[in-house]
């Protein structure tokens, strides 16, 4: 589409600088809800980058802004040095192919009226070998070749997430955003999908932005993490450091609140709550 967009901007050292960069991002919704209050972060190319926060933390708003699906009230979002926050839809073609999202809801993220092959090829635009690409993608996410002819309702939650991942990979993106992509899944299915994501990120050398309310999952998937609360980043660092030596009270609270098997087995969890 916009051929100029594909060439790197002059002020950026392509390949070295952050692939996605956010500066002083604010987003206020109608009615005065401050979803984001000045967020800045850099996602280095090839990094597995985690964003942790509970509901109301602004992480979903941030995802939309990273993907230019919404406009900030203030601040900038750049992709390889190019502003994407102030562009019209028609100027975003380059981003649409290079940054893709896997959404949370395995039911709501697939159009029930479309066959799987049409869903997967939706981001492809005009391609010569659509069927070949769909078959390739189905194989990559571990779905049988005949899945393409089916409608999404025939698939389980985990399989739908595989379809969602195949769609995201279709245009051969460089950045993959997983927005709570495993939150609605059972533990065993979650494990499979996490393994699949890990494998694909390695195989295609993707930059992964993994968004979750679950610090445990982020720890498993990511190298670097930001912790968000009420529209702000409260902590940022290498994931093990943040997990093992949290500096912010809220991070500590998050870690303590998440029940873990090890904690429970050590007997430190809460079989006996404090007396009132």
């Amino acid at each position: 589409m916009t051929s100029t967009a594909d060439s790197p901007a002059p002020d950026v050292d392509a390949g070295d600088g952050p692939i996605v960069s956010v500066r002083d991002l604010e987003r206020t919704y109608r009615g005065g809800v401050h979803a984001l209050r000045g967020v800045s972060l850099d996602v280095p190319r090839g990094r597995r980058f985690g964003i942790v926060g509970e509901s109301g933390s602004g992480k979903s708003t941030l995802v939309r802004l990273l993907a230019a699906l919404d406009r900030p009230t203030a601040g900038t979002v750049t992709f390889e040095g190019q502003r994407i926050d102030d562009r019209r839809e028609s100027e975003l073609g380059f981003l649409r192919r290079r940054l893709q999202i896997v959404f949370q809801d395995p039911m709501g993220s697939l159009d029930p009226r479309m066959r799987v092959r049409d869903i997967i090829s939706e981001p492809l635009g005009r391609t010569r070998d659509r069927d070949g690409r769909v078959a390739e993608l189905l194989d990559a996410v571990g779905l049988p070749a005949d899945a393409g002819a089916q409608y999404p309702h025939r698939f389980s939650g985990g399989q739908r997430q595989r379809i969602s991942i195949a769609r995201a990979l279709a245009p051969r993106p460089e950045v993959l955003i997983a927005d709570e992509a495993v939150s609605a899944l059972d533990v065993l299915v979650r494990k499979q999908i996490l393994e699949l994501l890990t494998r694909l990120v390695d195989e295609y050398a993707l930059t992964l932005v993994f968004v979750s309310h679950d610090l445990g999952v982020v720890r498993k998937m990511c190298e670097e993490v930001v912790v968000m609360r009420r529209g702000e980043i409260v902590e940022h660092g290498p994931v093990d450091e943040v997990y093992d030596a949290p500096r912010h009270d809220y991070t500590r609270e998050l870690i303590a609140a998440a029940p873990t098997l090890h904690g429970a087995l050590r007997g430190s969890a809460r079989p006996e709550p404090p007396e009132r």
Binding site: R96, I101, F103, G108, D111, P112, Y151, R167
Partner: protein, 269 residues
């Protein structure tokens, strides 16, 4: 579920076939007045008897099916063709446009359809066409509302976000995601509106603002039979049952089609 579709299609099909046949052939001239055979009961010559002018009721019924279908198809077609795009636009376009569409449709809803029909009839003369246009215009808001609500629902789904993230335009989303997903609601609305249009035409004909005599219409047959109800209920019963059958038929067809075209319900069939 399949039963609905079959019965609905059969009833509607019967009306359609009747209307088509009546274009070429009716047992007798439906408009032929014959004072010597007034108010006859069913006879081999007059299968459903005759009315107070001695016209053949069966032939009138057949030709009346044409009027019913005209009214339904034109009125509902007009309402859907205008209402659905307006509703989708109201949901997907800029906010001011949505407001404008919805406030205007409030206005139309508040304006009595009957008054509109009477005004049109006063200007252009009472005819089936003015009745259809009046009914159609009055039904536009129903489609606009259904389409807007459905569109907003579809837009709240993540697959439309995914489509945008995949670089697809608003038009693509409206065409590939919104329309297929609201089609069920629109079809149901159409069947309900069709039934209402048939009834409205009957009411307008009753008041003298609809189909002008001598063109046979089920609504007018019903109206003409009013004064004779005590004498011969048959004259009211025949068009009444015909109207009930076509209304039921379209309702069943609407339900059946909705189920048929919804892949999510496939498992239950």
């Amino acid at each position: 579920m399949r039963g609905n579709l079959v019965v609905g299609a059969a009833l509607v099909g019967l009306v359609v076939v009747t209307a088509l046949v009546s274009l070429l052939w009716t047992p007798l001239d439906p408009q032929a007045v014959d004072a010597s055979v007034r108010l006859l009961g069913p006879t081999p010559e007059h299968l459903l008897g005759t009315d107070k002018f001695g016209r053949d009721v069966f032939s009138q019924l057949m030709v009346g099916a044409q009027t019913t279908l005209y009214v339904g198809i034109i009125a509902v077609g007009l309402a859907a063709a205008v209402g659905v795009p307006l509703g989708v636009l109201a949901a997907m376009g800029p906010r001011w446009l949505g407001e404008l569409v919805m406030r205007t449709s409030d206005l139309v809803l508040a304006f009595p359809a009957l008054l509109l029909a009477i005004m049109l009839a006063a200007v252009y003369g009472a005819s089936t066409l003015t009745a259809m246009i009046a009914i159609g215009v009055a039904t536009v808001p129903a489609f606009a509302r259904v389409a807007r609500a459905g569109t907003l629902q579809v837009l709240s789904r993540e697959y439309t976000l995914a489509a945008r993230a995949g670089g697809r335009s608003r038009w693509w989303i409206a065409w590939r995601h919104v329309l297929p997903n609201i089609s069920g609601m629109v079809v149901v609305q159409a069947s309900v509106s069709f039934a209402m249009a048939v009834l409205a035409e009957a009411a307008l004909s009753f008041l003298g603002f609809g189909t002008a005599p001598p063109t046979p219409s089920w609504g007018r047959m019903l109206q003409e039979s009013q004064e004779l109800l005590a004498v011969d209920a048959r004259l009211a019963l025949v068009p009444g049952l015909a109207i009930a059958a076509v209304v039921l038929g379209f309702n069943l067809l609407g339900d059946g089609l909705r189920d048929r075209f919804d892949p999510r319900l496939e498992a239950r069939r």
